[in-house]
Every structure is written in structure tokens, then in C-alpha cells.
């Protein structure tokens, strides 16, 4: 699936099956739940010349290029190699200001997805012009091979959706019929998040060995010319691509892990574009001004940071405490402190990220800082302030430890501001830094925490809240610690609504259920959304083309249209 919990921008397709049909195309934009959207601050020079090369800075090097394997967790791998080279069934595009899965030109028509009894049957009809870079047609055999690799192999990043595949029929090279054992609303993510693999090159061979260090096939506009570990990835046009061919002769992504040096590289012309994550040092550089550099900033990302509570342990097993904390925080002030210089000053008001904003509400907006309300709620629940000004009840104080991920300065600042705000409201919070491996490998699955601050990332425009808040996804020893409801939210009313979101075929009813689920979440406060991390793209005057950020496919989703400014 498409939701994960990460420290750095990592790809996370996660966990639960997002449910039924998503015919979201007609859904009205409900952006009220999203943070302020900042439109591009500069207009790119759309006029480009053919030929030439660009060098782009990449702040992370992917670990491997075997996109379906567990080692392919870096979102940068997706940005710089997967998206430009892998054919997909659905692309994410902005339709009526809503990020929407749209059938790609790999398909000759919108796939049919129908229920036959309890089973869901999806028919993909392929574009006969679609070919791999070696000239071989992309066929239904590629769909069958891809599905079986993901469903049946070990060491797969995420099998969500694919485990439900009962069969794939390939009546002809241009038709693939996938039968799912039950309804799956998120079916558009199949063959879209991972893409389609070339059966004629991989079947019978060691897929991981062929792909992990880069591969020479392509079904997209670009081919990987080289991947020099630690240094760069170079793309060149795929001459056999059936769609719009790239303007540029070559694009090189240089790995620049140091943010300050990356900005210097942009200023000195060693790189022509940057896509820095919105960390404090990057924000300071942008605030200080970058002569000759244009920028695009968009807050409508799928990267949501939240204050997560473990609802099964004290003090967060008390709804009163959770609610009081929601009234203790000035979340807008936090967001303004973090991203105010970028023009972003509104907190996120739903756990549905902006890329699935149509499914969300703004119910958390009722929680603004109100210390009188905090006093009332806590007092009614039997708490009294002790000599230190901390709420206490039955010998226990409203004290807790918040786990955060080491090495993220912006998040360090966030937790410090939260700590300060909560202290004024009578809550005592300690901060503990942990590694991502420890947090997501043991601490969170085993529920060995009280509170935490980390991000969840939607990587496909499908609602995924059941993964985080349905009680069926609480990890436990009994289920081998599977599931990412690390927060132990167990709200029967919510379970039903989220199941409806996952399975409802009627789109209006699905949206209504999702909005109602948001109401319940805001009422129960199992956790508190804080912000969505904005995306920032910077480029020099050398770069031309229709530059914009796609929050799912990244800033280089339309790299073929980029060129040297004409």
C-alpha cells in the first residue's frame, strides 16, 4: 500500500489494503483539510532547446534499484530512476486541482474493474505501441510476471494488494485480466507504485542481481546509462520510447548529502537544480536568498508529521489527557516557526494528507490553544496540578517520554517547541532520540513507547487511514507484530467506517465514510496531526521547461519535458 512511517523521505507503500474503487475523478476538491498550499513562486522558462545536459543534485543515494525489494526504500531511487524508466498502469496527475490516479499511455483505455460475485476482476488493455527499450512489446506477460514476483517472492518491500491476486489471465499479449479474491478499492496502485517488469529479460533469471545496481532496460522516456555508487546516476533518452521523447541528451544526478555544500554547488553552477528536503539548514539558505535561482514551493505533499500517542499506555489511555494535549498545543505557531518563511503557517487538520485531501475533513481545526479548556478537561477527569505545576492523579503525573528520530534538526526543533508549550499547560515531556531501525523495527511495533513524533507518507492518492487507525492493524505478538497501528487505536466505530472506506464501491459513500471517520478521529484524538512537510524545487537560469512538483512521483516526473532554457 501507500502509507509508511519514516524518518527521512523514504518510500512507503504500506500496509493495508485501501479499499474499493476510487473513481475519485469526480470528487470535489476538499482542500480545507490540507495545509496552506503555496503556489510556485517563480514561473519556469517554458521555452527549451533540444540537446544539452543538466546536472541535478540528489541529497540521497538509493540503496538499490530492485524496486520491489526491501532494499529499495529510498524515495530518491523512485525519483531519479524508477519514475523515468519504469512503465506504470496509473500515473498521478492533478485533475481539477485534486491529485488523481490517471491511466497512463501504457494502457490503451481506462481499465475495467468489476465485481463478479465476491471477486474483483480487473481488465487491463495495453497500448500496442508500448515497447521496452530493446524494441520488445510490453505485454500482458509482463503484468503476469510482475504480479507473481511481488506476490510469491521473498524480500518484497510491500505486497499489499498483490497478495489478494488469485489469478492473472493473458488471453492475448495486449490483455491482462487480474482476479482478486475480494474487493480492493486501491486496485489502481497495482502495477503503478512498482510499475511493470520486463518478463522477457527477467523471467528465469535472478531479478535482484539484474536490477539492484541499475539496469539497462527501460519502458519510460529515459534509460539508466550508469550508476556510479556514491557519485552519480546518469540518464540518457530511451530511443525506443513510444511517447514524448526527452529534449535533453543527458541528465546526471550527483549525490550531495551535505545540504550546505549542495546549495553552494547550485550557486556555483556545478549543479543546475536541487530538490532539498525542508530541513532547517535548507530553509535558512532559501530565506537568505539565492541570486539567479528560481524556486517552486508546494505544501500539498503526502508527508505528514504528527504527534503520535500510544493509546494503550498511561497517560494516553485517557481520552481526557489526549484531548487536553490537543488544546495545549498552538500547532499553527509550530508550523509558522518551521515553514513561515515559505509562506506556510497553517497546521494540518486531518490525518488524510493533502494528496488524498478529497477524503478528509478539517475537524482538528477545533483544537486551538486554550489553556482554560485544558484546565476544565483535566479537572473534570480528576487531575490536579502538583507543586511543580504538573497535572497529577492517583499518585501519577501527566509525564511522558516522546520518541523522535535522531539527526533531524527540524524535528528536534518541533519537539522542543511542543515540550515548551506542553510545559505551560502542565504536562511534563522528556525527549528521547532513537534510530529509525529501532523505532520502526521494535519500539513502535511492540508498543514500547508513550508518544512519538515522526512522519507518515502517502505515496499514492488513495486513502490509507485504516493502516494507521483500524484495530485490525494493531501489531502484537500474536500476529507477528504486523500492522502499523502502532498507536493502538481501538475505536469500534472507527473500524467500521475505515472498513467502508477500504471496500465501498460507491464513490460518494466512500468519501462520506472517510469524512465521518475523520470526525471520529478528531473526537477521540488518538494522535494529533501537526504539519505536512512542503516540497521545494530550486533551479538555475540554465534550466527550462514546465517545472513543477508532483508530490507522488517527485519533481522529475516530467523530466522529458525539461531542457536548456531557450
Amino acid at each position: 500500500m501507500q502509507r509508511s512511517q519514516v524518518s527521512q523521505p523514504q518510500r512507503r507503500r504500506l500496509v493495508r489494503a485501501a479499499a474499493v474503487l476510487i473513481a475519485t475523478l469526480t470528487v470535489a476538491a476538499v482542500s480545507a483539510c490540507s495545509a496552506t498550499s503555496v503556489k510556485p513562486t517563480d514561473t519556469p522558462n517554458a521555452s527549451v532547446t533540444d540537446g544539452g545536459e543538466l546536472v541535478i543534485g540528489a541529497e540521497q543515494e538509493p540503496d538499490c534499484a530492485d524496486w520491489i525489494a526491501t532494499c529499495a526504500g529510498s524515495i530518491w531511487g523512485s525519483y531519479i530512476m524508477q519514475v523515468p524508466t519504469m512503465p506504470v498502469a496509473f500515473e498521478t496527475r492533478l485533475v481539477d486541482d485534486v491529485w488523481t490516479p490517471v491511466a497512463s499511455d501504457l494502457l490503451s483505455e481506462e481499465p475495467e474493474a468489476v465485481m463478479q460475485g465476491d471477486k474483483q476482476v480487473i481488465t487491463y488493455r495495453l497500448n500496442p505501441e508500448a515497447v521496452w527499450s530493446d524494441g520488445t512489446s510490453i505485454t500482458s506477460a509482463d503484468f503476469a510476471y510482475t504480479a507473481k514476483q511481488i506476490r510469491d517472492s521473498d524480500d518484497i518491500f510491500d505486497k499489499t494488494g498483490y497478495t489478494g491476486i488469485e489469478s492473472i489471465e493473458t488471453p492475448d499479449p495486449q490483455t491482462a485480466i487480474v482476479t482478486l479474491g475480494s474487493s480492493y478499492a486501491g486496485w489502481r496502485s497495482l502495477f503503478s507504485v512498482y510499475g511493470v517488469l520486463p518478463a522477457h529479460l527477467l523471467e528465469g533469471n535472478d531479478r535482484a542481481a539484474i536490477m539492484k545496481d541499475g539496469y539497462d532496460f527501460s519502458g519510460g522516456p529515459w534509460k539508466i546509462e550508469s550508476w556510479n555508487r556514491g557519485t552519480s546516476v546518469t540518464l540518457v533518452p530511451n530511443e525506443n520510447y513510444w511517447g514524448e521523447k526527452p529534449h535533453l541528451d543527458k541528465v546526471t544526478f550527483m549525490f550531495l548529502p551535505d545540504t550546505a555544500a549542495a546549495f553552494q554547488a547550485l550557486k556555483s553552477g556545478q549543479v543546475d537544480a536541487l530538490y532539498p528536503s525542508a530541513q532547517l539548514d535548507a530553509l535558512k539558505q532559501i530565506e537568505a536568498g539565492l541570486p539567479g535561482i528560481s524556486s517552486s514551493i508546494d505544501a500539498r505533499s503526502g508527508n505528514l508529521e504528527a504527534l503520535w500517542f500510544n493509546n494503550s499506555v498511561a497517560p494516553f489511555d485517557s481520552k481526557a489527557v489526549r484531548t487536553a494535549i490537543a488544546y495545549s498545543l498552538d500547532r499553527d505557531a509550530i508550523v509558522k516557526r518551521l515553514f513561515g518563511e515559505l509562506g506556510i503557517d497553517s497546521a494540518q487538520q486531518s490525518f488524510n494528507t493533502p494528496i488524498v485531501g478529497a477524503f478528509g475533513s478539517d475537524d482538528f481545526s477545533e483544537y486551538t490553544i486554550d489553556l482554560d479548556q485544558v484546565d476544565e478537561i483535566m479537572t473534570e477527569d480528576g487531575w490536579k496540578r502538583n507543586a511543580d505545576g504538573v497535572w497529577a492523579k492517583d499518585g501519577e503525573t501527566a509525564s511522558f517520554t516522546l520518541e523522535t528520530l535522531a539527526g533531524n534538526k527540524r524535528r528536534d526543533l518541533t519537539v522542543q517547541v511542543i515540550q515548551s508549550q506542553l510545559q505551560e499547560a502542565g504536562f511534563e515531556m522528556d525527549i528521547k532520540s532513537v534510530t529509525p531501525a529501532d523505532l520502526f523495527g521494535t519500539i513502535a511495533p511492540e508498543g514500547d513507547f508513550q508518544a512519538g513524533l515522526w512522519a507518515i507518507v502517502d505515496t499514492f492518492p488513495e486513502p490509507t487511514l485504516s493502516a494507521s487507525f483500524s484495530s485490525t492493524n494493531i501489531p502484537s505478538e500474536a500476529n507477528g507484530y504486523s500492522g502499523i497501528n502502532f498507536f493502538r487505536a481501538d475505536i469500534p466505530e472507527l473500524d467500521g467506517l475505515l472498513a467502508q472506506v477500504d471496500n465501498e464501491l460507491d464513490q460518494d459513500a466512500r468519501v462520506a465514510a472517510s469524512v465521518e471517520a475523520d470526525h471520529v478521529i478528531a473526537e477521540e484524538v488518538p494522535s494529533i496531526p501537526i504539519d505536512t512537510v512542503p516540497n521545494v524545487l530550486l533551479w538555475s537560469q540554465k534550466v527550462g521547461g514546465p517545472l513543477s512538483i508532483n508530490p507522488v512521483e517527485g519533481p522529475f516526473w516530467n523530466l522529458a519535458a525539461w531542457g536548456l532554457a531557450g
Partner: protein, 322 residues
């Protein structure tokens, strides 16, 4: 001399073994080798790895299991990249060795010259300026100095003079698609080498100056002067040679540290060396790389110590007799 070297090599073996066990114990106690696998929430895979790595056995058994694989060249597979660890470390060593080599070479020459000048012109204006500069060099954080160099020698000239490209580069050791020892390589090398050598020169020049002053005030120098030996000959043939022994020891020990200690320089200048590999592996909790990485650095330390001993013995024959 041969016996001396053999003896020193033999001494090194138990040192490496003890160091490897301590490192193995420390890493296994600190990191969970299966942390990443546990995130995949596949109990079967976890059980399989526990069996394969012998994680259900005693630490000593685990160590010998690991050691056997290590000495036979099976260094395992990175949990981060899926690549063989031996290949990863081999690829990372080469850029680091290049950087360390050039940094050491330039630093030795500059520190040597500064040492001699400062000792010969003791308390002169030049000596005082160099002393001040040395303290500044010791005090400056490497990352800060690196960024200052980048701004001064790459960004500023490019912007100030409207150059098509900066005079010096600071990303990697080559431009994309380039290789070999050429002008492009030199333009990439200057800034990281400068950033690397500043602290070395600062430290070594103080050390070298003290050694030179010690030599210059020794009896044999006074005797040479009394015999009318030319000043230049006294300095270069007698004083410098005798001050070299302790200098070589310091250089050798610092060289060993450089193999694993270029984290900041490699990070700022985007050089895919041992420091970057360590940092990436540490962040990812890739214990399968971290442990061999530490062993390689430990071996480098032992080898450099050995070289220091040999160098010392070559410069001072009395050492061989001890």
C-alpha cells in the same frame, strides 16, 4: 632488520584478533543485525537469519563463525544495498586512499617546511605568524573550513567574475563521465585536500618545530657548528634527520586515523569513501557493513603502527636492537 619486521608483524596478529573480538562484541551488543528485517514483519525470514548468523548461540561461537567467514573472504551482504560488503568496502577504500595520500603528502611537505622554518627562525615574526596560524588551524572545525574554501575558491570567483564554471570543483573527485589523473581531477582534489591538510599541518608543524628545536640544541649540532660545518648542512643533514623519527611516528598514526576518519571531508565534498560508507551504514543500522568496516580500519591502524616502527628503525638503528 628483516627479523625486526617479522617480529613486529607477528606481534600484530594477536592485536588484530583481540581488537576484532572487542569490536564484534561491541557491535553485536549495540546493534540488532535483524532490525531492518524485523520491519518487514516476516517471522520466517527472521528465524532463517537467526539460524544463519548463529544469533541463538554464545557470543564467542558467533564470533568464530563470523571470523571464519571473514578470513575466507565472505564478508556477507549489506542489509542496506544488498551488495557484497567486500565490494562496498573495496569501492569506498579507493577514494579515501587517494584523498588520504594526497592530503598526507602535501601536509608532510608543508608541515616539514614550516617546522624547519619555525625552528630555525625561532620567535621571529614569521614563526609567530605561523604559530598563530597553527592554533587557528587546530581550532577550526573541518566542515567550517571546507565550506569557507568552497565559498572562497569556487562560488565567489564564479559569481564575482561571471565565469562559466568555478575555477575549483567540490563535488566528488571527477566530473560526470571523467576519469583518470588530469586537470579535472586536480581541480576536484585541491579543495578537499586543503580542507583535510589544514588540521594536519597545524598539529604536525607544532610537533615538528619542537623536535627540530630539540635537535638543534643537541650536542652533535653544537659539535658540528664548532667544526665549522655549513649552517645549511647542519640543518638538513643532522637536525632534520634526527627530528624525523618522532615526526614519522605521529604522521603514521594520523594516517591510520584518516582511513576511517574522513567523514566530514567526504560528506562535504561528496566523495564516496570510507567515511561516507560508515555514515550511511550507521544511519541505516547496517551492522553487516559496520563490523568489517571497523575491522578494516583497525587493521589499517595496526599496519600504520607497523610502518611507523619500521620507519623509526630505519631512521634510528638503535631501535632494531631493542
Amino acid at each position: 632488520m628483516f627479523t625486526f619486521i617479522i617480529r613486529r608483524v607477528l606481534y600484530s596478529i594477536p592485536v588484530i584478533l583481540v581488537a576484532s573480538f572487542v569490536l564484534f562484541w561491541a557491535v553485536r551488543s549495540t546493534f540488532d543485525p535483524l532490525a531492518k528485517l524485523r520491519q518487514a514483519q516476516d517471522p520466517t525470514a527472521v528465524a532463517r537469519e537467526i539460524e544463519r548468523l548463529g544469533l541463538d548461540r554464545s557470543i564467542l561461537e558467533q564470533y568464530f563463525l563470523w571470523l571464519r567467514s571473514f578470513v575466507t573472504g565472505d564478508w556477507g551482504t549489506s542489509s542496506r544495498t544488498g551488495s557484497p560488503v567486500l565490494q562496498l568496502i573495496g569501492e569506498a577504500l579507493w577514494p579515501t586512499i587517494q584523498l588520504a595520500f594526497w592530503g598526507l603528502l602535501v601536509a608532510v611537505i608543508v608541515a616539514g617546511l614550516v617546522s624547519v622554518y619555525s625552528a630555525v627562525r625561532r620567535y621571529s615574526l614569521g614563526d609567530n605568524l605561523l604559530t598563530g596560524a597553527a592554533y587557528l588551524g587546530i581550532a577550526m572545525p573541518a566542515f567550517w573550513f571546507g565550506l569557507i574554501l568552497i565559498q572562497t575558491f569556487a562560488v565567489w570567483p564564479k559569481q564575482q567574475f561571471g565565469l562559466a564554471e568555478p575555477p575549483l570543483y567540490f563535488i566528488g573527485l571527477h566530473s560526470p563521465g571523467q576519469d583518470g589523473f588530469d586537470l579535472d581531477y586536480i581541480r576536484h582534489l585541491v579543495l578537499p585536500v586543503a580542507a583535510l591538510m589544514i588540521a594536519l599541518v597545524a598539529t604536525w608543524s607544532r610537533f615538528g618545530r619542537a623536535a627540530m628545536l630539540d635537535a638543534m640544541s643537541s650536542d652533535y649540532v653544537r659539535t658540528a657548528r664548532a667544526k665549522g660545518v655549513p649552517r645549511r648542512q647542519i640543518i638538513w643533514r643532522h637536525a632534520v634527520r634526527n627530528s624525523l623519527a618522532p615526526f614519522v611516528t605521529v604522521v603514521a598514526l594520523d594516517a591510520a586515523v584518516l582511513i576511517g576518519g574522513l567523514v566530514v571531508t567526504e560528506q562535504i565534498f561528496a566523495i564516496p569513501g570510507m567515511g561516507r560508507l560508515f555514515l550511511d551504514s550507521l544511519v541505516a543500522g547496517d551492522v553487516f557493513v559496520l563490523l568489517p568496516w571497523m575491522i578494516v580500519v583497525a587493521i589499517a591502524v595496526v599496519i600504520c603502527n607497523l610502518l611507523a616502527d619500521i620507519g623509526y628503525a630505519l631512521l634510528d638503528p638503535r631501535v632494531r636492537l631493542r
